[in-house]
């Protein structure tokens, strides 16, 4: 497992803490444009993802790993299908725990 460039688990609100750093998050796609995808984060905020688009077929939920550019945009490096029955609330709680009380267990 390549642990050379770890990515922090973020939701919409936590993205601003990692500007310029590698992050990962799960979004629900709500729209797309040329060169960018608009998604809803697990805490119901809007995130814009620029860069190479994910290749179809796409599921409802997608994970994106990339560099945080601002407090609401990411430059994508990797996309992964996370299925249609994903539970966003659980993921949201994970992000809160991974950046709060249990930060020492993550990055």
């Amino acid at each position: 497992m390549d642990t050379s460039s770890p990515s922090a688990f973020v939701n919409g609100a936590l993205l601003r803490r990692y500007i310029g750093q590698k992050v990962r998050t799960v979004i629900q796609v709500i729209g797309s444009d040329t060169g960018s995808v608009v998604g809803k984060s697990t805490d119901d905020l809007q995130i814009v993802v620029r860069g190479p688009s994910p290749t179809p077929p796409l599921t409802t939920y997608l994970e994106v790993i990339g560099i945080a550019e601002s407090d609401n945009s990411i430059r994508a490096e990797t996309w992964t299908n996370f299925g249609n029955t994903f539970d966003p609330q659980n993921y949201n709680e994970l992000c809160k725990l991974a950046n709060g009380e249990f930060k020492h267990l993550f990055i």
């Binding site: 029955t85 539970d87 659980n90």
Partner: protein, 600 residues
């Protein structure tokens, strides 16, 4: 009385005969127990024969005899079986490891010395301390003087087996019937009473034979008595009815005097109410619980046939509701059904509040409550909880539609996946508690991995295609079913297998029957049997087992006790299997994390 003398030169005999093998008869040697002390959960002492002493150790199995006073310091014991070992580190000194012995006499006045004088103990087999003996001597004083000395009332909570003289002032809060028994030691009669003192502490007192006859009529329910000269011992956990580490025995020398002129404040019945929506965790457990609720409905009396003796007993069902907006059915039995039950039927339209103490929690229709002989029902109790309940019911409860607590819960027979989230435990909770399911099987749900299935175990049995019972091979071809009383050319195979299961806390063996094993393996026993007998490069049977290993599932299990060669072993049976719902499990984990959070 038996020989109350120690065997002369007993210790010398023991030491010289140490090379005796087990088949030869050991001389019956009586020694005195001196310097009895506890080391861990065993006791050591010096065995004294009046001339010499040697160190000795008693097995842990006899610790209870020591605690109860059967084997006493300065008392005599007869050695029945023992081995002589070297004391580690001191090769010249030996010690006796006793495996079997019997008490011969209770504590003598002192250590037997080589003057050869043997002092006979005053009384046989009554656990008595020095202060008890002194108190008895004092007992010969004038009654008035005696009363003045012993009338100081001790709180029940201060009593223990090692304190000699005490007097308690208690009310009889329960009186049992006189029972007769017939066992290896002979015939007898016994009854017990439940005693409560002013502080609310309770203790059970038992009387046998002569004492039972003496006090049976004297003890009356609800009356107050001064009691002294009883003996205490550790309570037998199996038969515990009150919260007390000790239980009392009264014999003919005990004193029971009615406190006729004096008032005693009776503490109100101490209730410990469980809200109806929390009853789930008590289902089929040993603990008795108390409830308080508003009577929604009262049924007429029903007659139920008792299984063990075919006698018909009356029963009445009451539906109770409380502020958790859940209802539960309480079954009143016998006198409670006909007496207070009838009262409740008459006032059912008033929807009174009732509080009930000591109910058993069963699993009929999910959750059911039943009264037992010591249950206590109070209608419209004078308490703040009752007032709160009544006002809640009058203002909103009356109109609210409520659901039965049992409906959300599947009874063990139903393998509904909803029961996979109630009584969730980890494997360590089960294996670290060997007495689980001692009386009645206990049910849990757990999430675990199948870690091992022995390929060469008997995984199935031949079953009748109609009734699924085991069939026997008929003389000519075919199979005979004893239950259906018919022969069939074919039979089906049904699973009965042991699987090893693991989770992050430990591992255990589960027994799985056909329906559950099919879900685990992923094919029927007949299909697996076919795979087993197939030839070929790849053994499909082994592959199937391999695929099953390290698959995770949600299990509904029952834990009970079974005896194997007089040893009690835990038996865990799978009652239901279903796949893991990861989102639901994650939610459970998040709940667990927040419960264990250290920071506010």
């Amino acid at each position: 009385m038996e020989n109350s003398a120690v065997t002369q030169d007993g210790i010398a005999t023991v030491l010289s005969n140490q090379s005796l093998d087990s088949s030869s008869v050991r001389p019956q040697i009586v020694v005195q127990v001196v310097d009895l002390k506890a080391v861990g959960n065993r006791y050591t002492f010096s065995a004294n024969d009046g001339k010499t002493k040697m160190k000795a150790m008693l097995p842990a199995t006899l610790t209870s005899d020591i605690v109860s006073g059967k084997i006493q310091n300065l008392g005599l014991i007869r050695l029945l079986d023992y081995t002589i070992n070297d004391i580690p580190g001191k090769s010249e000194e030996k010690y006796m490891l006793i495996t079997k012995c019997e008490a011969v006499a209770s504590a003598l006045d002192s250590e037997i010395k080589s003057t050869g004088i043997v002092l006979k103990p005053k009384q046989e087999f009554v656990a008595r301390s020095a202060s008890q003996i002194i108190n008895e001597q004092r007992g010969n004083a004038a009654p008035a003087a005696r009363m003045a000395m012993t009338r100081r009332v001790h709180p029940l909570v201060s009593l223990n087996p090692y304190q000699g003289s005490w007097t308690i002032k208690v009310r009889v809060t329960n009186k049992g019937v006189m029972r007769t028994y017939n066992n290896a030691r002979g015939e007898g009669c016994v009854f017990n009473v439940e005693l409560t003192d002013e502080e609310g502490t309770q203790i059970q007192a038992t009387m046998f034979n002569a004492a039972a006859k003496k006090f049976y009529d004297r003890f009356e329910m609800g009356k107050v008595y001064y009691i002294s000269r009883g003996s205490l011992k550790l309570a037998n956990k199996q038969f515990k009815t009150v919260q007390n580490d000790y239980e009392m025995t009264l014999n003919e020398n005990s004193e029971v005097e009615e406190a006729s002129n004096e008032e005693m404040f009776t503490p109100e019945i101490k209730f410990n109410f469980v809200p109806i929506d929390e009853l789930g965790t008590y289902v089929n457990q040993k603990d008795l619980i108390d409830v308080i609720g508003v009577v929604q409905s009262v049924s007429p009396t029903m007659s139920i046939r008792r299984r063990n003796d075919n006698e018909m007993i009356p029963k009445r069902d009451i539906t109770l509701a409380d502020e958790t907006k859940k209802t539960v059915v309480v079954s009143l039995w016998n006198d409670l059904a006909t007496g207070i039950g009838q009262e409740l039927l008459d006032m059912a339209d008033d929807h009174p509040v009732i509080a009930i103490k000591s109910l058993k929690v069963g699993d009929f229709q999910g959750v059911s409550l039943s009264t037992i002989s010591r249950s206590n029902v109070v209608i419209n109790p004078d308490s703040p909880e009752a007032t709160k309940l009544k006002s809640w019911y009058d203002s909103e409860g009356k109109e609210t539609s409520m659901s039965a607590i049992g409906s959300g819960m599947s009874s063990p027979a139903n393998n509904g996946s909803r029961s996979m989230y109630s009584d969730r435990v980890s494997l360590s909770h089960i294996i670290s508690n060997p007495s689980l399911g001692e009386e009645k099987p206990v049910f849990f749900s757990t999430r675990a991995y199948i870690s091992f299935i022995k390929p060469d175990q008997t995984m199935w049995y031949r079953a009748c295609k109609t009734c699924n019972k085991k069939v026997t091979e008929a003389m000519d071809s075919g199979y005979w079913c004893e239950g259906c009383q018919k022969k069939d050319q074919e039979c089906s195979l049904r699973y009965i297998m042991a699987v090893k299961v693991s989770d992050s806390t430990g591992e255990a063996w589960f027994s799985a029957f056909n329906d559950e094993a099919e879900k685990i393996i992923g094919c029927t026993a007949d299909e697996l049997d076919k795979l087993k007998s197939e030839e070929g490069e790849v053994n499909e049977f082994q592959t199937k087992l391999k695929e099953t290993t390290w698959s995770s599932h949600l299990f509904r299990i029952s834990v009970s006790q079974q005896e194997y060669n007089s040893e009690k072993r835990q038996r865990i049976t799978v009652r239901g299997v279903c796949p893991i719902d990861f989102a639901a499990e994650t939610r459970l984990l998040l709940q667990d994390i927040s419960k264990n959070k250290t920071s506010p």
